[in-house]
């Protein structure tokens, strides 16, 4: 398939790529834009390692052809925070032990950012449901649940300041 030009806004910056329309958003981010923080785990939308936010919705970037992402606004892990200035969700994952091997972590953090956008003070059930598309094989999820609660508290008190 021949390449076409697509524009998309990634982490607040407008980017142009010349790729076939069926190129996966995951590959565009990783190979064309060098944003390797988004990971591939299964390539079929089961594990959620490739989760990004597209126009505010949580999507598996392995299932999104670039033709569907043209003009969209994309948030990847690189746009969530920086090493010197962590987002409260990143900070909570670090403090609570929510990241072990780290391969599911970018997707899990984006799922959390999305969840806390919808439910600033989520219940246990909302947390379990909100993360059910993101598989983690290391933690048994308990440290991640704790991180989500901690991040929710931090963001709420941050918002009040």
């Amino acid at each position: 398939m021949s390449a076409r030009r697509f524009s998309l806004c990634v982490n607040g910056v407008e980017r142009f790529v010349d790729v076939p329309p069926m190129a996966r958003l995951l590959d565009v981010l990783r190979h064309e834009l060098g944003l390797t923080g988004t990971k591939e785990g299964c390539g079929e939308g089961e594990c959620g390692s490739c989760s990004v936010l597209m126009n505010g919705e949580l999507v598996n970037s392995c299932l999104v052809p670039i033709a569907q992402a043209g003009g969209a606004s994309i948030l990847t892990i690189e746009g969530v925070g920086e090493q010197a200035r962590l987002h409260p969700v990143q900070k909570a994952f670090l403090e609570c032990g929510g990241a072990q091997c780290g391969i599911c972590t970018p997707g899990m953090i984006l799922a959390t950012v999305h969840l806390l956008g919808k439910h600033p003070r989520p219940t246990q059930e909302e947390i379990h449901e909100g993360l059910n598309g993101n598989l983690c094989r290391c933690t048994g999820y308990m440290r991640i649940f704790e991180a989500v609660e901690k991040a929710a508290c931090a963001m709420e008190s941050g918002a009040m300041e």
Partner: protein
């Protein structure tokens, strides 16, 4: 014991910031100039001869690099314990998915089409696909008798005990299925080659020196021309102990032939179908017990399905054999164990390494023995649990002050066991949702079995840089368990400096010494102990030089290190493994000190079995363990919770569906692991008794939590349903089938 500043504290994971920012770089995140991509053409039949290979139409074959067994410059095997595992099948295939030839091309997208265009013609030969078929020995597929390894472990006089009068004999057969590691990062490697520098291999792997050893054999190059570097590794669980040596060899062969760096990344389906899994097992127990519930003797037969090549099966069998006795005092015990070959991809290392299999059988069986003598599971265990001064089934004297009875009681209390057991018994009669609560008590030996640690002869270093930072030099790798953090904590504590001043040297065989493989729950206890002694040596060197005197600050230490390096050029201290005193092991008789230390645990699972959908949910889980000193409470908790989750999957969800050695459900869509909605609260409790010979009192922790969940859950299901389910994974259809049979029998009885 609380005087430490860093050990015992929840300091942050060393590479944690990089991981939460997506900046940690895994193998697929790397690229080299001129790099091309590799892929593997695999065998489609269970066993037979390769008659012809044809490169089909529609592919520009002249653009491809093709490697077959004939291109291997050295020896055609992946070096593990034996030398029977081919790097590339050479005319004969022994299992589906065996690698036959390798392709490389600059276009990653073209490779799957090329792989599919290779046509292989076979002459198929008879094959075997289960322990039962293999032990019949009608078709021999490995050696003279299909037996990869066998052991006989015997203590006391088992036959005499079974001949005693007035005893109760309880028999049972138990089986466990294969389990896929399902690390979320698939396997991958990048290889580069030049005549001047030799081979460099970057990979997602646990054991750089295992890959190094295999590459020496395959390439025929001298040691200094082979370099292996582990990059950030996205989960392993044993699954990146053995097979990465294969992928490393494949990438290297393609790089040597093509003249380009070559990257091989497996996709999920290839990773699941082609790489190793947990050994399926079958255990047959025959137990002699007095009428008042005192264990007299065990006669156990324990078998593993090893798959088509021997790989690590002998050592998995060894650990499974030794753990067969569980945490009980047996005056007489005999375990006869065998690993059988089948035409399945070789089964390999997986967290627990044989112990989850044999302990499942033992702990399920103990509930049935208890019932046979009219005791509750906990009262029966109380009468038989090991005590300090008693001997294990290898004759090892328990010197540590243990209190298994007290720990079991404590776990039962945390779980609300007595109240719940009585209540469930009362309420279950009228309900279609049957509740149950079950227990498992178990142990896990830390470090290599028997003489293993002495053979490994691990070497560890601690050095300082010109900037006065301290580095830990080990080949022990980080893949989520916390190696980086724990070893830096130990070094910083020992040196009396800040945690932030210590870092890990890269896990690069040209930089670090061989501290042994990152397996067997040995890193914190054994390697941590060596880091401690190497760090002590570094500190003593600085003090002896007169550049540093106690007490000192972290800054003063750094300045002293800088001055020392300016004056002497380098500051490094090495430490080599020494076995704890009075440790002996007899490899022939399988007796003696099997492990330098055991960790102990009591787990309690509460379940609901829904008799409408036959679905089991785990409602609560208590995991209490004694693992020596806990060096980092957050990391330790994470290890236990993750292991319990994997154990719940092993018991209730994770079924590998085979068709003559080929995994049929090799996708995350149809091989089911626990999600965030499938798990109970996992409540973790630690008892801490510092172990004299482990780093700051630590013992092994990583594998232990894999051993207990499956038997605790199946014991709870037996309590809930009154049915003995003795095989895992236990899926709703298995429960439905059994309970439907029970109902129809009841109806027939009523009709009579």
């Amino acid at each position: 014991m609380q005087k430490e500043r860093i050990v015992g504290k929840p300091v942050f994971r060393k590479e944690g910031i990089a991981k939460v920012c997506g900046a940690a770089r895994y193998i697929d995140d790397f690229s080299l100039p001129g790099m091309i991509f590799g892929a593997t053409v695999r065998n489609a039949i269970p066993r037979g001869r390769v008659l012809n290979i044809e490169f089909g139409p529609g592919i520009p074959w002249d653009e491809f690099t093709v490697v077959t067994a004939k291109d291997i410059p050295g020896k055609n095997y992946i070096a593990l314990i034996n030398q029977d595992w081919p790097c590339l099948a050479d005319g004969f295939v022994n299992h589906p998915q065996e690698a036959i030839l390798l392709l490389a091309h600059p276009d990653r997208q073209l490779l799957p089409l090329a792989v599919a265009a290779v046509r292989i013609e076979y002459e198929e030969l008879p094959s075997v696909h289960s322990i039962e078929e293999s032990e019949l020995q009608q078709t021999i597929v490995w050696g003279d008798d299909n037996i990869i390894k066998s052991y006989v472990m015997e203590k006391g006089d088992v036959d005499a005990a079974f001949a005693l009068p007035e005893i109760v004999i309880v028999k049972g057969e138990y089986s466990t299925g294969a389990q896929e590691h399902l690390y979320i990062e698939n396997n991958g490697a990048i290889a580069a080659y030049s005549e001047r520098d030799g081979v460099t291999l970057w990979g997602s792997l646990q054991c750089p020196f295992y890959a190094h050893k295999s590459l020496l054999g395959v390439t025929g190059l001298p040691e200094d021309k082979v370099r292996v570097i582990q990059v950030e590794t996205g989960g392993a669980f044993g699954g990146k102990e053995d097979y990465p040596s294969m992928i490393a060899a494949h990438a290297v062969l393609l790089a040597m032939k093509s003249g380009h760096p070559v990257k091989i990344i497996y996709d999920r389906m290839e990773d699941m179908a082609a790489t190793t899994k947990r050994h399926p097992s079958r255990a047959r127990h025959r137990t002699a017990v007095t009428k008042d519930g005192k264990l007299l003797a065990a006669d156990i037969e324990f078998c593993l399905d090893g798959g088509a090549y021997s790989t690590l099966s002998s050592t998995v069998l060894s650990r499974g054999t030794i753990h067969s006795g569980g945490p009980y005092y047996w005056p007489n015990i005999r375990v006869r164990s065998k690993a059988f070959a089948t035409n399945t991809p070789p089964h390999g290392a997986f967290r627990g390494f044989g112990a989850p299999q044999s302990l499942f059988a033992t702990e399920r069986h103990m509930d049935r023995v208890a019932k046979a003598v009219g005791l509750t599971p906990e009262e029966f265990r109380r009468r038989n649990l090991l005590r300090t001064g008693e001997t294990t089934c290898t004759g090892q004297v328990i010197r540590q002050q243990i209190d298994l009875e007290g720990w079991m009681e404590s776990a039962l209390d945390h779980a609300g066991y007595y109240e719940k057991r009585a209540r469930f018994d009362r309420e279950n009669t009228d309900s279609l949702r049957k509740k149950g609560i079950g227990l498992a008590v178990f142990l896990h030996g830390a470090g290599f079995t028997g003489s293993g640690e002495r053979y490994l002869n691990s070497l560890v270093g601690v050095d300082a840089t010109a900037e006065g930072r301290v580095r830990v030099l080990v080949s022990s790798t980080e893949f989520g368990q916390g190696t980086n953090t724990i070893l830096c904590q130990v070094a910083a504590e020992t040196l009396g400096i800040d945690y932030e001043v210590v870092e890990m040297a890269p896990a690069d065989t040209s930089v670090v010494p061989n501290s042994g493989p990152t397996v067997a729950s040995r890193t914190t206890m054994v390697v941590g102990g060596l880091v401690h002694s190497a760090a002590l040596g570094l500190k003593q060197t600085l003090i002896a030089s007169g550049l540093l005197s106690e007490p000192y600050t972290s800054d003063a230490f750094q300045n002293a290190a800088k001055s020392y390096i300016a004056k002497h050029g380098a500051l490094c201290s090495m430490s080599r493994y020494q076995a704890p005193p009075n440790v002996y092991w007899d490899d022939q008789k399988y007796s003696g000190e099997a492990y330098a230390a055991y960790s102990w645990a009591a787990y309690v699972a509460e379940v609901t079995v829904d008799l409408t959908a036959y679905f089991v949910t785990v409602d609560d889980f208590v995991a209490l363990q004694e693992v020596g000193r806990v060096l980092n409470p957050v990391l330790a908790r994470g290890q236990i919770e993750g292991g319990v989750a994997q154990g719940i999957g092993y018991a209730l969800y994770e079924k590998v569906v085979w068709d003559r050695g080929l995994m049929m459900n090799n996708q995350m869509t149809n091989y089911i692991m626990p999600t965030s909605q499938d798990l109970p609260p996992i409540r973790v409790f630690f008892e801490e008794i510092p172990f004299e010979y482990g780093a700051y009192g630590a013992k092994g922790i990583g594998e232990l939590p894999m051993d207990g969940p499956a038997p605790a859950i199946l014991n709870a299901i037996a309590h809930a349903t009154g049915e003995d389910f003795n095989a895992i994974p236990l899926l709703p259809e298995d429960i439905a089938e059994r309970l439907a049979a029970r109902t129809s029998i009841a109806k027939e009885m009523a009709a009579v």
